[in-house]
Amino acid sequence: MRMLPVLSRLAWRYLWRNHRRTIIMVGAIAVGAWAMIFMTALTRGMVDQMIRDGISVLPGHVQAHNPEFLDDPSVSNRIAMGDEELAGKFDAMDFRAWASRVRVPAVITSERESRGVTLLGVDPEAEEEFSFVSYEDVEGRFLETPDDKGVVIGRKLADKLDTEVGKRIVIMSQDPDNEIADRGFRVVGLFKANMAAFEESYVFVGKKTAQKMLRIGDTTTEIVFVGDDYRNVDPTYQRVSEAVAGKLKVSRWYEVDTYLGTMMKVMDGFVLIWVIVIFLALSFGLVNTLVMAVFERIREIGLMLALGMKPSSILGQIIIESMFLLAIGLGLGDILAFASVKPLESGIDISVVAEGMEMWGASSMLYPKLYWSDMVLANVVVLILGFLASLSPAWRASRYEPVEAITKVG
């Protein structure tokens, strides 16, 4: 231990005397660290995106309904509390977003066609935060107020109905007494969605207009809550449950869409596999590098031993060298990772890469997401791994017979 400062200086000087080799090794470690961090960011981004897309359709992290509604989503199973009462309860609770909406099955008709759809009566402002429709991308315009008299439908549905912005269509559903409730609406906007199915099945009208058409006063059928983290919705769930005090069924997103919830677990499992594979590749590379480094120095080590250096000091020096290399490599890797992920967080367009190949025609955007915890974890893992990897060759090195070592022909 007394030798520590001396060994450190020796180690440092050694590294810089053989700067070419040092640079190569540092480079390898840096690339390894970069790969690990970048990959984690990428996979996180992928899972995030997939789940967020799924949740934006549900929508929300937590939902509340009349207990009968999830089985039979008709207007007779609506929420007994009106909008005023709900606002009184939930506005003060400071969720990231919440909204009540009318969601019922309906039939939409044009002059020549009719289709079964899901009618959504929404407050456009309240829903903007979590809607799967991007209001700016709507052809025409999206709804402006809950009283809006227009309807916004998907592009594909408009094509199927042979209608367009400016024309009228009729929406028909049922009121709580099972009487027909229908009304003409003018198409004011067409939206596009990732999945063709959404463009064909969802139809947006103003919430108050829907309530009037369905003769349900100011009640609705669904309340949506959005928190901060889709992986941790329990706090939101608790607060909503308390507020409704048993009168409504409160569900977490993965309870409503069990498929998506289970899919998330599978995706996480898949990510784990990728991480393990990167880890293995990295560790093998690291071990390989360090082992080779020691073997290439056999003569030199033999010389040092012959000159009187203690085996334990050899061990120490080699380990310290490795740690220096790791530290520098990690530092560089971190910087590289940061520099490459942050600017790309607004999206990587892989169509450029995919374009060249016939098999893959579709473009897609990747959104890597860098979490500090991931970065720290990667660094810690590499350090520990590197330390362990350097132990064996260092140990071996310290055990050399000086004479044998010196006379080994490189």
Partner: protein, 409 residues
């Protein structure tokens, strides 16, 4: 050139340890590469099969226009003999006929508009996972019995259980009133609410009678062993269609339009990730090669002072590197293929998949697909990087002074 080759080979084996270390790195990395990409291919196969297995099958025979309009009059004539004829011709049971109509299902308490399918009880389980998802009661057995199976959510909404009666009301093929009273013999649960709420299945014989189909149906569903086989099967089915009938075969991409795009998008992103892995691997191999070449400066010095020109030496070094690279490529590809093949046979269970399988009747394991592509892509790229590794030191040799070199290390 022959001498150079033999020299290079001997040089490699003179330094057993170094060679094995370097090659070992490549073999290990290549195994990983082969495994990962095979796993990726296996995943796609799984994703597609999972979606198609539920209901739509790998392809369907329909009349043109039915897919978009779904009018009961757009019927496939003589659908049962057509299906059984194809089953015989292709010696498989995974072909089944269906009919479909939109109608009203009523229990004592409630009514709902649903999709009513007429299916062949013996063969429907071969093309769809729904018959295997019966939670209560049993699936359909006799093609003419007045039985019905419904989804669990529909059962709850209608407030019926096994043994209860349901009334079906709709419009027949000739426009007349279609009505029947049926018995609930089974309730299925697929986990997908839309299916469990909106679908009921009748035996095809009963369906044809109730809806006045006159022997016609609307679909013949065909499943192959896997996607590749499905692609081969499709043209054969098209040829086997009866002449003179206006029928068309839709492949799974036409039946499930979003699926292919979703997979392609996923594929591009996976390829990107794979690219990173390759970079990592290639870099570490590059590193090993570089180091080993640089460590031989002393040796090069001696050799050059003995008269070997830098150019020649450079070629020698490149050759050695290439040989080691080849070794790593071949051994790595083989090791990768063997390792992955074990999983191709036995399957890999990714955490989370058992839950998927239990809830949705999907396969619990993924089977990585080993093929020429997956075996070679990664290792070849690594090999190229290896060659690159030799370029720098080979160039450097030109600037090397033998005496200095001999003093190195």
């Amino acid at each position: 050139m022959n001498i150079v080759l033999r020299l290079a080979w001997r040089n490699i084996w003179r330094q057993r340890r170094r060679t094995w270390l370097t090659t070992g790195a490549m073999v290990f990395s290549n195994t990983l590469l082969v495994f990962m990409i095979s796993l990726q291919f296996g995943m796609y196969g799984l994703m597609i099969d999972n979606t198609l297995k539920v209901f739509s099958g790998h392809m369907q025979i329909q009349v043109p226009g039915y897919k978009d309009d779904q009018k009961i009059r757009q019927a496939v004539p003589n659908v049962v003999p057509l299906a059984s004829g194809l089953r015989q011709q292709f010696r498989t049971d995974t072909i089944a006929a269906r009919g479909w109509a939109f109608g009203l299902a009523s229990s004592a308490e409630r009514s709902y508009g649903i999709g009513i399918f007429g299916v062949e009880p013996t063969f429907e389980p071969e093309v769809s996972s729904i018959p295997g998802l019966i939670k209560e009661g049993r699936y359909l057995e006799d093609s003419d019995a007045t039985d019905i199976v419904i989804g669990s959510v529909l059962a709850r909404n209608l407030r019926v259980g096994i043994g209860d009666e349901l009334t079906l009301l709709g419009s027949g093929r000739d426009g007349s009133f279609a009505a029947a009273v049926v018995n609930v013999v089974g309730i299925f649960e697929s986990g997908v609410v839309d299916i469990d709420r909106n679908i009921a299945q009748l035996p095809l014989g009963l369906f044809q009678e109730v809806f006045y189909m006159e022997g016609a149906g609307h679909q013949v569903v065909i499943n192959a062993a896997n996607l590749d086989e499905a692609t081969l099967l499709e043209p054969q089915i098209i040829e086997a269609l009866p002449a003179g009938e206006d029928l068309v075969v839709h492949d799974w991409d036409a039946l499930q339009p979003g699926l292919k795009q979703a997979i392609q998008a996923d594929m591009s992103s996976a390829f990107f990730m794979y690219g990173i892995l390759v970079i990592l691997v290639a870099f570490s191999v590059l590193n090993t090669q570089l180091m080993s070449v640089l460590e031989r400066t002393h040796e090069f010095g001696i050799v050059m002072s003995l008269g070997l020109k830098p150019g020649r030496l450079g070629r020698l070094v490149m050759l050695e590197t290439a040989m080691m690279g080849m070794l790593g490529l071949i051994l790595g590809a083989i090791a990768g293929a063997l390792f992955t093949s074990w999983f191709m046979v036995n399957g890999l269970s990714i955490p989370g998949m058992e839950e998927m399988s239990a809830k949705f009747n999907l396969p619990p394991r993924v089977y990585p697909q080993v093929n020429i592509w997956s075996t070679l892509i990664g290792p070849v790229v690594v090999f190229l990087f290896t060659l690159l590794a030799a370029v720098y030191p080979a160039l450097r040799l030109h600037r090397l002074h033998p005496v200095e070199a001999m003093r190195a290390n």
